[in-house]
Each structure stands twice: as C-alpha cells, then as structure tokens.
Amino acid sequence: MGELIRFNNVKKTYNIGEKSFNALDGVDFGINKGEFVVILGPSGAGKSTLLNLLGGMDKATSGEIVIGGETISNYNDSELTDYRAENIGFIFQFYNILPTLTVLENVELINDIVKNPKSAKQILKEVGLEKHYNKFPNQLSGGEQQRVSIARAIAKNPLLLLCDEPTGALDSKTGVEVLKLLKKQCDSNNGENTVIIVTHNSLIAEVADRVIKLKNGKVESNQINENPKKIEEVNW
C-alpha cells in the first residue's frame, strides 16, 4: 500500500518566557495506508506534540507535513478545521466526551459535521453499548466511556484514527477490549484505515505493524514489525 503520511524535518518550538524549547527537533518519517502504528517514547519525548500536528490541532514551527498527498502544514485554521472534520478521528486518555449529552447524542454529534456518517446506533452496537443509549457519561465506567469515544471517532469513518494513551486510564482487561476495537477499525474498510496510537506502554508495540520510537524530540527508530502478535497473545 502507498504512503499516507510523510514528515519532513518537522520542528515544533515552544517559547516559554525568554527560553525556547524544541518539542520536536527535526522529525522525518513515513507511515503507509492501513497500518496499525504505535508511537513509543518516555514522557517529554514529543509524542503528544506529534499527534497534535498530525491531527491538525497545532501547527509546526517549520518543516513539511504531507497527509494523503495534501501538505497540511500550509493550511490555515479554517482549512485545518475541515481537515479534522473530514479525515481525523480522535481518542483521548480521558475520553473527552461531552458530559451533558447522552451516549447516543455524543455519537450523533458527528451528524453536525460530516455528511455521511455511519449510523450512531449501529456503531454503539458494534462497541457493545446498545443498552446504554440514553445514559449520561458519568453513569458509565471508564472503559464504557472510552468505547463511546471510539464510537464517536469511527462514526465519521476517518482516514486516520489518532489515539493518545487510549488505555492509559483503564485496567488491563478493559484496555485489551479497547485495543481490539481499535484493531478492528484498522482492519475494516478493506484494511484501508490507518490507526496511530501514542503511548509509553511498550507492550502495545508488540501488536503494531509499525513502531516509531521518539526520544528528545527526534525519531530514534522507525521499524516495521514483520510478525505482529495477536492482541490476545500479548501477556498484559
């Protein structure tokens, strides 16, 4: 399959007072369509910054980011918003679902931004929440909330699913369930969907097609995993 993502010498500099700090310090890598990617690194390595750039939530200080043939590093705010709306699904460590909307409403929210979203009820069924349509988020367990978040992300059938420590706040059993769902999303749609997971949990890397290691704002390694393990096989 062809290349979906290309980072060319991407830098992201934060100015804190008079000092400046390079969160990303000249990052180059590529990711192919349909891959299940894990980005690994200790805290402060620049993982979240990388994800934010990928998701169009933040702009690079310099360098080029090409996604699906489009150079998004040249986009303005409004173009980035459209880019996010059409192509990106997000999953956060703390779920970020709206507390005043019910489970179903949180997923249906997508109807307001995407033209042909998947049926919210159908997706909630797929993630096993068909019994909780009318509940509010605070009535759900952490794993259930994360599944709402996943349902919301995949409802728009995104080209790219970005996950920031998706299992970070969950116990291991629930974490496995969540990973399975993410893998399933990656494999659906004839294996065209790309999923990127940012984590410091190296165990997850064992199931990935590709593992990118970050350290001090630079790519330490970018390896293809020839024989990814099945999720059940990993010893959590």
Binding site: S48, D82, F92, V114
Partner: protein, 790 residues
C-alpha cells in the same frame, strides 16, 4: 504574605476589581445621593416651617375687623392670629410682572426669613421683597421699586429680601406648573403703607359721593386705618388635632369668614409635599432597581474572580493553609473593595447628587438653607451592600474549599446530576438540535446563574421600557390636556365684578364660550371637603372625556365627577352629594349622573342649565376664544390672557428635563445589562472551554461553536424581554400612579414603538456583549485546553 498576594491579585485582575468598585460605588452613590436629597427636602422644609411658624389655618374673608381678630384670638386652642391684607399689584412700566402685595400689622406667624436687610417693623417704611424674585430681577436692598395697585403707585425702597413659609411655592395661577420667579413674586409692607386714597375712594363710592370736599366735610374725623379691609387671618393652633374644632368655631362665630382652610391644603404647602411624595416613589423604584442590578453585576464579577482563583485555592490548601485563613483572604477581596466603594459612595452621593437635586429643587421652591441630609437608611444600605458582597465571596470560596485539593487543582468540570437532566432525554427535548439540548442542560445545571442572568436582563429591559414609557406617558398627558380637552386657542380670565356692558362687549368680540368656577365645600358626615365645580357653557371649547377616551356631552340633569375623585371618595353613579358655595350657607343636593376623566384636575362639572335650575345665577369668569390674540397684551375687564400653545410649550419644556433622565436611564440599563451578560458568560466559559475544545478537535467550526455558546444568551435575552416588557409597563404605571398627587390622573400609556425600542435596545446590548464573549471561542487553544483536563 497573603496580603501581598491580595494586592497582586487585585493588580492582575484590575478590570474586574474596578468593575466591582464602580458598581458598588455607583449603586451606593445613587442610593445615598437621591435618598439624601429626599430627606433634605423633608428636613429643610420641616425646619423652615417650624422655625418660622407657618400658620395652621387661614381664614379668608372680605373684611376682618379688629373685633373679629379679638374674637378669633379668644377661641380656645388658638395660640395666635394675625391679619393680612393681600392684593395683586403689578410693577409700574412692567405690567407683565405681577406682585402679590401683603400688608401686615405684625409678623409672628409665617415669619420672614430675612436673607438680607432688616427684620419686619410696623413703623418702617419700605418693602420686604421676595428674595427669589429680587434675584431673578436683579434687585437689591436699597433699590426702589414702583408697585402699581389700582390707580395708585407705591414707590418703596427695598429694605429686606425675604423667604416666607407660606410662599414656598408661588405661582400666578394654576396654568403655571413651575414658578419662574421672574414675572411673579410677593412682597410685604407695613399696613401703614396702604394707600389712604384707595380707602377714601372706596368709601366715597359706597356713599355715592363724587366730590372729595363734600366727603371731607361729611367725615372730618376720617382715619383710613379704621376702614382697612383685611382679607386674610393667619391662625396658629396649639395642636394639630384641634384644627378641625377651631375651624368650625371660626366659621360659626366669625361672620366675615367666608372659608377657613387648612394650610396643608394650600397650593404652596401641598405642591411641595407632592414633590416630596413624588420623589419618594422615584427613589424607591429607581434606586432600588438600580441597586439590585448593580449588586447582581458585583456578585457575578466577584464569583468570577474567586472561580478564577480556583487552582490557587487548591494550591494554598495543599500547602497546608487553614480553611479559615484562605476564606479570610478571599473575603477580604470583596470586603475591602466594597467597603471603600461604599464609603466613597456615601460621601460623594449626598455631596454631589444630593445637593445637585436639592439645588435644582430650590430654584423653584423658596426655602432657605436647602441641603442634602444623609439618613440612616443610606448607612444601612451601604452596610448591606458590603455584607452581601462579603457573604457571596465567602460562599463561593467555601464551595471551592469543600473539594479536596487534588480536585480543586484541576479546572472545574461540569457535574452532571442524572435526575435533573433525565427530563431532557424525553418528549420535545428529543427533537431538539444538539446545540439546543446542550444549552438546555447547561441551564438546568446552572439554575442560579441563569436566574441571575434573567433578573439582570429583565431589569435592563424594564429600565428601557420605563425610559421610553415615561416620555410616552407624559406626551399622552399633554396631548389629552391640550389637544383633546382644550379646544380653544386663548382663555380669557375675567376680572371679578365686571359690569354687564363689559361682558357683553367681550362676548361680542370673542364669542360666547364661557365657564365659571365655583369654590365649594362638600359635606361628608361631619367633615367638609373643599373642591370646585366647573360650570360649563363653553359650547365645546372645553371638552370632556369618558373612561375610554371618547368625548361626552354633559347632560343637564345632574353633576359629573372625575373618575379619580370618584375612586378616592367612593362615589357611584346615582349617589347624591351635598355641597355649598364658599361664603354662602345654603346647601344643595346633586345627583351624580356620570364620570369623566381629567389628567390634571379632579373636580365636579355641571352645565349652566343645571346650575340655573338649582336657582344659582351663572356668572362666567372665563371666556374661550380662537381669535388671534398673540399681539394683544391687555384687554379691558380681562385679568389674564392665556395662550394655549404657550401653556403647552411650557409643559413640553418639562419633558426636556425628563429626556435627560431617559438618556441616563438608557445608558445605565445598557451598562448594567452588558456587565451582567459578560460576567455570566465568563463565569461559564472556564468550564465550557474544555467542551468547546473537544468540539473543535472533532472538527466543529469556530462559527458553529460560537453559535452554540451565544444561543443561551439569546434565550435568556428573549425570556428577559418577555418578562421585562410587562414589568416595565407596570413600573411606569406605578410611578405615575404613586408619584403624582391625588389631583392627577394618568396611567401609563406606552406606544408599541417604545416597546420595539426596548426590545431592540435589550437585544443590542445582549448581542454586542455576546459577540465580545464569542471572540473567546476563537482563542481556545485545543492542545492546552485538553491538557488542562488531564
């Protein structure tokens, strides 16, 4: 250390603290200022009346003799009595300047307040002149004025400039509302100065003598002072409750007394009292509402400041500061600032606003030493304001402290109570758009905040309705009075005692639309109420309106009373009232056959024919005409020529003052409404920020998020307008009903256009401040907002 933190916090949140300071300051200043003006009015007058011994009763007659005076003084409960000879004069060569000229024997009752010059002395020549009149006409002590009375001219030196307690409010006649002190004033002279010649001529007329030499031989011992015609007696009663008794006794014993009136019914006293009562209503309604809205904005701002300090509160707590210490620290914010602002308001309010209004009032009302008086209620209000601010700060702070430090260290997350939101998953809510649902639930979760918002914007809308409504109501009053009721261009008031020839000549020239006013007393059990009857033969030059504003024609079979009078007295159609003309003994009984409505005058009306049927001679005192009299200054036999348009313009000029107030109201309403909307918006923004960031990440456009954000304000604004319009109407109605004395009858009349202005105005305020708030949405940084939640 915390003290240092407080000062720095204040510096970093300067704009919020300035808002709090200004709002408290303005609220207290306006309240204390206007309160001090009202109390100043009452107090100043009380002192003046007391110190200068205002009479309690006044007897009106045609000729009070020495014997009468002695008899009056002998009546039980009467402390003192003085006679007064009052006539109307004009300034020589300046006929448009009228002076009420009083000749007195002594000055123990209604004593002069001598502003400049000498005290009263019967033996002194010269005139004590109305101080305000003197000021407005550039007259000083030592100047000489010439007063024309009948055919005599009194040339007198001004020996004193005075204020007198029964001349607090002096107008030439009822057509004037505000005294101008330029073409009308009063003066006092010793009775010795009364021109002897006038008395002589009067007696010669009575004796049918035309030659003075014959008179001199016929009355060689003629002494003018024996024939002086005193027409007033001022009476000082020992006790308020004995007034009625004394009044009846005088009426019984003194034949020369045509009527005895209570000084409280006099135009001077009651107009001033009316002004005070009118003011009291304004004070209550406006300063109350103003203070309320100002407090709302202070409370919302204070809450905002404390909430902003949430993480710091958490830090302080985590560091081990005791709850009490942290609370004290934050309560200090509200306490010191509101205390300082209140104190300043208490000082500045009376000093500037109070004395400004007092000064304006004292241009019209003649009372010496008028100044604002700070009352206890202002102190109480100031203390309450400080308390409320401190308590609100305390409660907000305590709320934050209740959570454990770990919680507080995080940005505030909305807490969702399942039960309260359950309702919103059913019924009509199901069909709502996402943004409506979101907002509906946000409102349900923040009922207090929403209630404050609605209260504030409703107040804003009310003030706007009130501002426009007051103008409308006044305009409507003027239109009713001058366009509907007065159907003439000029009113001629005839001199009393005119001859038939003169009258015939006048009617020939100016038409026969005439009327007569009769001063009467109505018997009500043992009491007697004075009033007047308007006898109509104006041939529709003066018109009458019924309750619904339609013209009515008076029938000849009874009397009409004005609605307001009927309401206060409980008259019904078919009731009979018993009345007599002042100075006559005979009582008449008349049936009420209808009600009419008059905005300015509550009295009784009848036709000429009905009057004549009662056996009373019709003797018109006014002629109404549409002839152009703009160039004519004087007509023989006519005392006063009144131009309807000039009267109307006089009234309209009063509206100009009101317009200034309206502009002020609008500005105040806009500022207050804006501050409240802004504060509430900011208050909810921190917790919404994270949700908006999420929406942004999902791909919602800024515009869409702004719309969601503003939607709630729009709802609040719409609800507030729906509430504010009728409440505004009631407020105007209340003001006009309560503020005006019994003689006035006008209810709120607000044009549709005014409601439209109020709606547009309220909406603009809400829209502008929402727009400013919405700008914050663009600034939300997704990365940090979402991080802050971790």
């Amino acid at each position: 250390m915390l003290k240092r933190k407080m000062f720095r916090d204040i510096r970093f949140n300067l704009s919020q603290f300035i808002t709090i300071f200004l709002m408290v300051f303005m609220g207290v200043m306006v309240y204390a200022g206007i309160r001090s003006y009202m109390d100043g009015m009452t107090k100043t007058a009380d002192i003046f009346y007391e110190d200068n011994n205002l009479q309690d009763l006044e007897a009106i007659g045609e000729n009070f003799t020495d014997e009468d005076l002695k008899q009056i003084k002998d009546i039980e409960h009467i402390k003192n009595a003085e006679r007064k000879l009052t006539v109307m004069g004009t300034m020589e060569n300046e006929e448009e300047r009228t002076l009420q000229v009083n000749f007195i024997e002594s000055n123990e009752i209604s004593k002069f307040y001598v502003k400049d010059g000498k005290a009263f002395d019967k033996s002194k020549k010269g005139v004590w002149l109305d101080e305000y009149y003197a000021k407005n006409n550039n007259l000083k002590v030592g100047d000489t004025i010439k007063i024309k009375y009948e055919k005599e001219t009194l040339e007198e030196e001004i020996i004193g400039l005075i204020n007198v307690p029964d001349h607090v409010y002096d107008i030439k006649d009822e057509s004037e509302i505000f005294p101008n002190h330029i073409d009308y004033g009063f003066c006092y002279l010793s009775i010795n100065e009364f021109p002897e010649n006038i008395i002589k001529q009067e007696i010669m007329k009575k004796m049918n003598v035309t030659d003075e030499t014959i008179f001199n031989t016929a009355m060689p011992d003629f002494r003018a002072q024996d024939y002086l015609i005193y027409n007033y007696v001022m009476i000082d009663v020992d006790n308020e409750e004995n007034k009625n008794n004394v009044k009846n006794q005088i009426e019984e014993k003194i034949e020369n007394a045509i009527a005895v009136t209570d000084i409280k019914d006099s135009i001077s006293y009651s107009s001033y009292q009316g002004e005070v009562e009118e003011g009291e209503t304004y004070v209550g309604v406006f300063t109350g509402l103003f203070l309320f809205i100002a407090m709302l904005s202070v409370i919302t701002t204070m809450t905002r400041v404390v909430k902003k300090q949430r993480t710091q509160i958490g830090t302080l707590k985590a560091l081990g500061f005791k709850k009490g210490k942290i609370t004290n620290h934050y309560v200090g914010y509200g306490l010191w600032i509101s205390l300082l602002a209140s104190l300043l308001g208490l000082i500045i309010g009376p000093l500037f606003i109070g004395n400004l209004f007092m000064g304006m009032e004292m241009e019209y009302f003649q009372i010496p030493n008028g100044k604002a008086v700070i009352s206890t209620s202002s102190f109480i209000v100031a203390i309450m304001v400080v308390l409320v601010v401190s308590i609100v700060t305390y409660i907000t702070c305590r709320k934050e402290l209740k959570e454990n430090p770990a919680e507080t260290l995080r940005a505030e997350m909305p807490k969702v109570k399942q039960n309260s939101l359950n309702i919103t998953t059913k019924g009509i809510f199901k069909k709502m758009s996402f943004s409506s649902k979101w907002n509906a639930r946000d409102i349900l979760r923040n009922k207090m905040r929403t209630a404050m918002g609605i209260a504030g914007i409703t107040g804003c809308c009310m003030l706007l309705v009130c501002a426009f409504g007051m103008l409308d109501t006044m305009n409507n009053f003027i239109e009713t009075q001058f366009e509907k009721l007065f159907n003439f261009d000029y009113k001629l008031t005839l001199k009393s005692g005119y001859s038939d020839e003169v009258f015939e000549e006048l009617t020939k020239k100016y038409g026969d639309s005439t009327s007569q006013s009769l001063g009467i007393e109505i018997k009500e059990g043992d009491e007697k109420q004075s009033n007047n009857i308007f006898v109509d033969d104006s041939k529709e030059s003066v018109r009458f309106l019924n309750h619904d504003g339609e013209y009515i024609k008076l029938s000849d079979n009874g009397i009409y009373v004005t609605e307001k009078l009927a309401e206060t007295k409980g008259y019904k159609i078919g009731d009979k009232i018993s009345w007599h003309i002042y100075g006559e003994e005979k009582y008449y009984e008349s049936e009420i056959v209808g009600f009419d409505r008059n905005p300015q005058n509550q009295n009784i009306k009848m036709t000429k024919k009905y009057l004549e049927n009662l056996g009373i001679e019709y003797k018109p005192d006014s002629i109404y005409t549409n002839e152009d009299l703009s160039k004519i200054k004087e007509i023989d036999g006519v005392e006063l020529i009144q131009d309807k348009n000039a009267l109307e313009e006089g009234m309209l000029s009063m509206i100009n003052t009101m317009q200034t107030m309206v502009v002020l109201l609008i500005i105040v309403a806009a500022i207050l409404g804006g501050v409240i909307i802004y504060n509430l918006g900011i208050l909810s923004f921190t917790e919404k920020q994270y949700q908006f960031a999420t929406l942004k990440v999902l791909g919602f456009k800024n515009k869409k998020i702004k719309k969601i954000y503003i939607k709630q304000n729009n709802w609040i604004t719409i609800i507030s307008i729906v509430l504010g319009l009728p409440l505004g109407f009631f407020m105007v109605d209340f003001i006009f009903k309560m503020a005006l004395s019994d003689t006035y009858d006008f209810s709120a009349k607000i044009k549709i256009a005014s409601y439209a202005y109020a709606i547009v105005g309220t909406y603009i305020v809400s829209f502008v401040f929402s727009k400013i708030l919405a700008k914050k949405v663009r600034k939300i940084d997704m990365v940090t907002s979402l991080k802050g939640n971790e």
